[in-house]
């Protein structure tokens, strides 16, 4: 187990390092000179050159990579070209919107999907199962940003229950802030819930065919108890795998959803930074997202061992 842990950790770190090289290399070929962008079109060539020197843009490539990567490790992300504030402050501020959004969406998706999966698997082949899986099939096909527009139309324009967009900030109080995250979270969560419900159902159906389920039933356990205690736990591995993947989807999904709802989150920050050629912000945020994906996948892999004791003892 320890050997497995170490090997898994080593691959995660190697992937992270490689990813950082890729991000750095890709942004090197991005057209547009940040120094020229900061000074505007009227600045002289010598002025631009001076600023390039100050920003360290003229240093050799490997040195700049090491400087940047070292900065990331010590949480010094540099200064944004367009906002002229430390990237770390920018990220921290935006993360206060995106992280709660992604977590609420993940929680919503799980809370909806697992019971639906249990319901369907318990009634497989019956009308309830067909209906639930039909709805899930539809949910998988719905683009989250279109769903978001429909939600805005119904709940913000028509019923006027929630704001159509924008974010008052956490300083305006927890409820107003949560209220403006509600529709975006639902828009993000429902298509993911549809996928997760289908995975949960098929994993459960597979487990329900096992001999030990029949044994549990034969010894007199009620069906409900068998479903929850024996089947769900054994079906958790594929469910956890998809949950981990969905975290990456949710993070990326915030880019579009935050644009729909005008939320000042990480996704909107990176989208604007790309269009404004604010390379240092793009680099930092992309690395942060990639690190989050790698970390979540690592956690998912390790959690298999917690869910399934058989994996713990295996060498």
């Amino acid at each position: 187990m320890t050997a497995y842990l170490l090997k898994r950790l080593a691959t995660a770190i190697a992937t992270l390092v490689l990813a950082s090289m890729v991000v750095f290399a890709v942004l090197e070929v991005l057209p547009g000179d940040p120094a020229r962008l900061m000074l505007g079109m009227n600045a002289g060539a010598d002025q631009v050159e001076l600023l390039r020197d100050q920003m360290g843009l003229n240093a050799p490539l490997p040195w700049r990579y090491l400087h940047w990567a070292g900065g990331l490790l010590s949480l010094d992300f540099g200064r944004s070209y367009t906002y002229s504030v430390p990237v770390l402050d920018l990220v921290r501020e935006r993360l206060a919107v995106s992280l709660p959004l992604a977590l609420i969406a993940l929680a919503l998706s799980t809370i909806i999907a697992i019971p639906v999966g249990l319901f369907s698997a318990g009634r497989r082949g019956q009308a309830g199962d067909t209906l639930a899986m039909g709805v899930a099939q539809l949910g998988v096909a719905i683009p989250n940003f279109w769903f978001a527009l429909m939600l805005i139309y119904v709940f913000a324009v028509w019923l006027r229950l929630v704001p159509a967009g924008g974010f008052p900030g956490w300083s305006a109080g927890v409820w107003p802030a949560l209220k403006s995250l509600l529709l975006p979270a639902v828009a993000l969560a429902l298509p993911q819930a549809a996928i997760l419900a289908r995975v949960t159902r098929s994993a459960l159906v597979e487990v329900l065919n096992e001999d030990y389920i029949r044994t549990a039933r034969a010894k007199g356990l009620p069906y409900r108890a068998v479903l929850w205690r024996h089947a769900l736990r054994n079906a958790m591995i594929p469910v956890l795998t998809i949950l981990g993947l969905q975290f990456a989807f949710l993070l990326a999904g915030t880019i579009i959803i935050e644009n729909v709802f005008y939320l000042p989150g990480l996704g909107r920050l990176v989208f604007q930074a790309i269009t404004q050629r604010d390379l240092i912000v793009v680099e930092s945020v992309v690395m942060l997202l990639v690190a989050a994906v790698i970390a979540v996948n690592l956690i998912v892999d390790l959690s298999y061992a917690i869910v399934d004791p058989r994996l713990r003892s295996r060498q």
Binding site: T15, V26, V140, A141, A252, I274, V286
Partner: protein, 289 residues
């Protein structure tokens, strides 16, 4: 005991008979054909000209003259939705083609060689998977400029590791089989075996994955176009239409409803088709999603 049966051993008639009893396949096939027909018809005929702006008719609600209403330039939404199908299908088709064309040979090669080659290819795969696909697609299209071609490349790149992984997993299951051993004994090399025996046996798997990726590519293209990074005006695209609709939700909700429904129906059709094919050709390994 069930006897293992390869696809080739079943008669075409038998497969077709099964196909028409499979409701997911029938529904998916019908929807997919309908969307395809809509795209083809749009080349010859649309109710109105999508390039002509009639400002006097702007943001009209759905009526007999304009079934889906008109947009802010007075263009007919039904006509635009029809023409938009072309863009979605073309982008998705080429993107999946790129993914299959590069990913399948890579995966099959990794499975045939094994060892270090396999390990290296799979690590590169892991690396690509660490990047949220949409984020990278945005970076690529923003770097090389927005447009349908760059959208195709951006979506295509992220299809490569998916097909590589599926092809490798499928091929690894085929290699230990007896008929591969027989082919080896007959003196065939690993490339010949891959082309003649492995690929035909994983074709179903690839076809099913192909329909899934096609559906995902349509969603991704719509997302990129919605952000203004996909097909550029005046070429109508479903994502772009939704972008135009967003600020006009209060006055003209139909501008958002119909292109969105076109996306949902297309993706639903493809997913049903994939489910159906998987069921018909290999009932044991039902696709899990």
């Amino acid at each position: 005991m069930t006897l293992h049966m390869d696809i080739s051993e079943e008669t075409l008639g038998g497969i077709l008979a099964k196909a028409f009893r499979n409701s997911a396949f029938v529904a998916g096939f019908a929807i997919t054909m309908l969307i395809l027909a809509m795209a083809i018809v749009s080349y010859f005929w649309t109710p109105y000209d999508v390039t002509k702006l009639v400002i006097a008719d702007k943001t009209q609600a759905p009526s007999l003259a304009h079934w889906f209403g008109t947009d802010h330039f007075g263009r007919d939404i039904l006509s635009m939705t029809m023409v938009g199908a072309r863009n979605s299908i073309a982008v998705a088709l080429v993107a999946v083609g790129i993914g299959m064309g590069i990913g399948v040979p890579l995966g099959a090669f990794a499975a045939a060689r094994g060892g270090l080659v396999d390990e290296a290819l799979m690590r590169i795969n892991d690396l690509v998977f660490a990047f949220p696909a949409l984020l990278s697609a945005i970076m690529i299209t923003a770097t090389f400029g927005p447009g349908a071609v760059n959208a195709i490349i951006a979506i295509g790149i992220f299809n490569i590791p998916v097909f590589a992984r599926v092809a490798r997993a499928g091929a690894l299951a085929i290699w230990p089989r007896e008929f591969i051993l027989a082919a080896r004994a007959a003196g065939k090399n690993s490339t010949q075996i891959t082309v003649e025996h492995v690929l035909p046996n994983i074709a179903t798997l690839l076809l099913v994955q192909g329909t899934i990726q096609f559906a995902l590519a349509i969603l991704a293209e719509a997302g990129l176009s919605y952000l203004g990074l996909g097909a550029q005006p005046p070429m109508p695209s479903w994502g772009r239409m939704l972008f135009d609709a967003q600020t006009r939700m209060v006055v003209a909700p139909w501008m958002a409803i119909f292109p969105g429904m076109a996306i949902v129906i297309t993706v639903l059709g493809l997913n049903l088709l994939g489910d159906g094919i998987a069921d018909i050709l290999d009932p044991k390994s039902r696709r899990r999603r």
